[in-house]
């Protein structure tokens, strides 16, 4: 699969993507799946709205639904969405939104997620889109279901439904003190309604369940070990697989001999074109068999860290003429007249997602039908990958996505699923394939490396006049400036990436914010203006101003005076509906040059907060993860091989790296809820860099800023972390 396609797919956020039709879903399916009750679906087309409230007789469900909700005869509510729980806590927050509109307790809601046989088609869980898109859709369905239940009660009691209320899973008649539980109302019914509008939703200011810090759904299963992650799935008669990997990227197989492997008891070697793997009764035997395969590879010469930024900036991938995304006024003229000029180049190394659970899949065939359990943010995308790779129709493939050991944008693809399915077909038995850490570090994809060039001009008083921003390869998320600058050029330049690259939490927004907010700091310093005052002077966006002010107040920015051993930095931005400002306090040991981030205050606003407890957890985690990319994470590679493909060599943030973290939440109940999984990561790197600058006067323009050792070709900052 081309990395570019994967990457652009998310850039477009589905705008140009036509989802294939939903499940073929008719009345018989409804009865078989749900056994009657009340079914509410959300259709994307307004035409469906008119098919409301019909009984089932001969009625067919529309084939294009984005979510559905079912209330069974026992009153149990199940909500079906193709979204995936990857640790971001949407299983909880979405259920809260449904409970709120349906007027039930939180515990009455069961979320059925990420199963291509049970849930409606969904493009995938990325782009911080679950909360702003799936949230209102589920609320709409729940509100419609509540309305129907009240109408059903009104019909039974022969009263005007408008005089009834719904609460705690019951419809109440205040006048007569009568009540009917939802189960009593749906028993014996076969009622379906398709809705599409989102009117009459409960405003966030009136929320009682949404907007509160309900603990993670099924939290107990995570402290007892009973939750089954994709790698924990066990099937009867299951074998274990392992896959032969080339010696390097873009390698071609010159010769192979699997005979020694096949001599091992109960081992089967599987060849299918370029694919070679083994199955065995246990993983140790599978690894032994793999090691017994004699393969010769030709690995072509290819770029390494040393040439990376030259390749991205000047390589042949840039031959195509591209236009800037955004142009305003004349940057050239404005720079001519500017009293302060700053011209800087920033570089970003590749980093790895390194989810603690590597890719894993269990594949099981039943005739020509395939079921795969796997960890992916795109179960329907993986279903299509499987169908294409195994040459079977998509409807013969079921992908089940158990809540997984995280992804951070790194599990959009279905490599392990396809490999497990090939092995299982050849073995005639279910096969589990768990990628090793080394495989995950080598054969997954990376956050793109990049080169960013900035030219800025300002008046002596700190008024920004010109802003020119070029991003080579890393991406265009968060590429625009939130500051009011009359003359601008903003441009993304595609390049040929030496390594396979793809989505990562916030995409390129972390890199673009690092460069922009660092360069902003350089302009402020050149103008002799306080970094916060300089930003405020050039900022009209009231939401962004509010988070800057909130972070600065909590941090004590006014009193924070940097010394050579202690620096204070601030940075912020907005992306995907989230507004963030981050203050960092950094300690630098002048003898050892060791950098330690001591304290971080981050202010956040993303509209009405659905679950403040989950949100704090997400934001705090984003700071810790972002700290790794800021200071020390980097992928080292040479000539088609990853050189630090293990946790001993690739440094991850640990307890001892973690600063004191304070999160300030601004709850805007008057604004729609936006997603919060990604943008919380963009402020930390520039805040740290700006703090280092404030302490030392040295501007660090490379991510990571203070690695164990500089990557080849990279100037050494001299700082360590």
């Amino acid at each position: 699969m081309s990395s570019r396609t994967e990457f652009e797919r998310e850039f477009n956020e589905g705008g140009s993507w036509d989802p294939p039709g939903g499940l073929e879903f008719d009345r018989r399916d409804f009865l078989k799946l749900f056994g009657g009750g009340l079914f509410v679906g959300l259709g994307s087309a307004s035409a469906w709205a008119q098919e409301s409230g019909r009984r089932f007789g001969g009625h067919e469900l529309p084939k294009d639904l984005s979510a559905w909700l079912h209330i069974a005869a026992d009153g149990g509510v199940k909500v079906y969405t193709g979204k995936a729980e990857v640790g971001q806590n949407i299983r909880t927050s979405l259920a809260q939104l449904v409970a709120e509109e349906l007027r039930t307790g939180f515990d009455a809601i069961e979320m059925v997620m990420g199963d291509t046989a049970l849930t409606p088609y969904d493009m995938g869980t990325f782009g911080s889109r679950t909360t702003p898109t799936m949230g209102p859709e589920l609320r709409t369905m729940a509100a419609a279901a509540r309305q129907m239940l009240m109408e059903m009660a009104g019909e039974r009691w022969q009263v005007d439904p408008a005089t009834l209320t719904a609460a705690n899973g019951k419809v109440l008649d205040a006048k007569t003190q009568r009540s009917l539980s939802y189960g009593e109302l749906t028993r014996g019914e076969n009622l379906v309604k398709i809705v599409s509008s989102d009117d009459a939703l409960t405003p966030a200011s009136a929320w009682k369940i949404a907007g509160t810090g309900i603990p993670k759904a099924q939290g107990r299963d995570f402290v007892t070990g009973s939750h089954a992650y994709p790698s924990d799935i066990v099937r009867p008669g299951m074998l274990f697989g392992a896959v032969l990997r080339p010696d390097g990227f873009k390698a071609t197989l010159e010769s192979i001999d699997t005979s020694a492997a096949e001599k091992i008891d109960q081992v089967k070697a599987v060849r299918d074109g370029d694919f070679t793997g083994v199955v065995a009764p246990d993983p140790a035997t599978a690894q032994r068999a793999l090691a017994a395969i004699q393969a010769k590879w030709d690995v072509p010469s290819q770029p390494s860290n040393r040439e990376l930024f030259d390749v991205l900036k000047n390589g042949s991938g840039n031959g195509n003429v591209e236009r800037p995304q955004y142009v305003a006024g004349s940057v050239a003229q404005a720079l001519d007249g500017a009293e302060i000029k700053v011209e800087e180049q920033y570089t970003i190394q590749y980093i790895a997602h390194a989810p603690l659970e590597p890719r894993a899949a269990v594949a099981e065939w039943d005739g020509d039908k395939l079921t795969v359990w796997t960890g992916t943010q795109r179960p329907f995308g993986v279903r299509d990958e499987l169908a294409a790779a195994l040459k079977i129709p998509a409807e013969n493939v079921r992908v089940i996505q158990p809540d997984m050991g995280a992804g951070y944008g790194g599990k959009h693809t279905g490599e392990a699923a396809v490999e497990a399915a090939r092995l299982a077909r050849a073995a005639g038995k279910p096969v589990k394939l768990e990628w090793t850490r080394r495989e995950e570090f080598t054969w997954a994809y990376f956050r793109p490396a990049g080169v960013i060039e900035i030219r800025a001009g300002a008046r002596r008083d700190g008024t920004l006049l010109a802003w020119e921003f070029h991003n080579y390869n890393s991406g265009n998320a968060g590429i625009g400036s939130p500051y009011a600058v009359p003359n601008q050029i903003i441009q993304y330049h595609a390049a040929d990436s030496p390594l396979r690259q793809g989505s990562y939490r916030s995409l390129a927004a972390a890199a673009n914010h690092f460069a922009r907010e660092s360069a902003m700091d350089s302009v402020a310093a050149a103008a002799g203006v306080d970094p916060l005052a300089f930003r405020m002077k050039n900022l009209t966006d009231t939401r962004l101003r509010a988070v800057f002010q909130a972070a600065a107040d909590k941090f004590g920015w006014e009193k924070a005076k940097s010394t050579p051993e202690r620096g204070f930095g601030i940075a912020g931005g907005n992306e995907k509906g989230g507004y963030v400002a981050t203050c960092a306090e950094v300690e630098i040991d002048s003898a050892s040059k060791k950098v330690r981030v001591r304290r971080v205050v981050q202010a956040w606003e993303s509209g009405a907060i659905v679950n403040p407890d989950g949100l704090r957890n997400q934001l705090s985690g984003a700071i810790v993860q972002g700290l790794g990319g800021a200071l020390f994470e980097q992928v080292l590679f040479a000539n088609g091989r990853i050189q630090n493909a293990s946790f001993a060599q690739y440094r991850l943030p640990r307890f001892s790296d973690t600063p004191e973290i304070e999160i300030v939440l601004l709850d805007r109940k008057d604004l729609p809820s936006a997603g919060a999984g990604e943008t919380g990561i963009v402020g930390i790197a520039p805040a740290i860099g700006n703090a280092i600058f404030a302490a030392t006067g040295v501007r660090l323009r490379s991510m990571p800023m203070a690695p164990r050792a500089a990557a080849p070709g990279q100037p050494d900052s001299g700082l360590r972390s």
Binding site: R220, G225, Y229, V624, E660
Partner: protein
Amino acid sequence: MGDLLLHVNGARVNVNAPADEPLLWVLRNRLHLTGTHYGCGEGQCGACTVLLDGRATRSCLTPVGAVAKSKIVTIEGLEHDGKLSAVQQAFLDEGAFQCGYCTSGMILSATALLRDGRNPSEDQIVAAMNGNVCRCGTYPRILAAIQRAAQQQAQGARR
């Protein structure tokens, strides 16, 4: 392949496995105790942590043949009569997880740290837990959970 008699979560179990097979794979694949997780296979992340006679041990680097005489406790063995251990309960109360994949190892490392009524300082907790990775970055809450469990243990001892 040899027959091994192991002591796991308070019970004697027979396992047919080569003596050099990592304990992690025995637990996960032969005993189906899947709460113990693979993260790196080189003892660098702590996802596979189990207790061997009360000590936190990386099961990915421990050959099963070496533990026949030890009492092995996995995450599945901490709960007694439907009651969570103090550390488990503290993790739940603090919401000290995101994806939760590291949680078993965190809880077992913390359980070993707090054994025999120990009440470690924050620095001691950080030092002891530094071999456990939470890629979701939940460290502040995990730290708070361990401190909460330690506190409860201390209060319980005073009563």
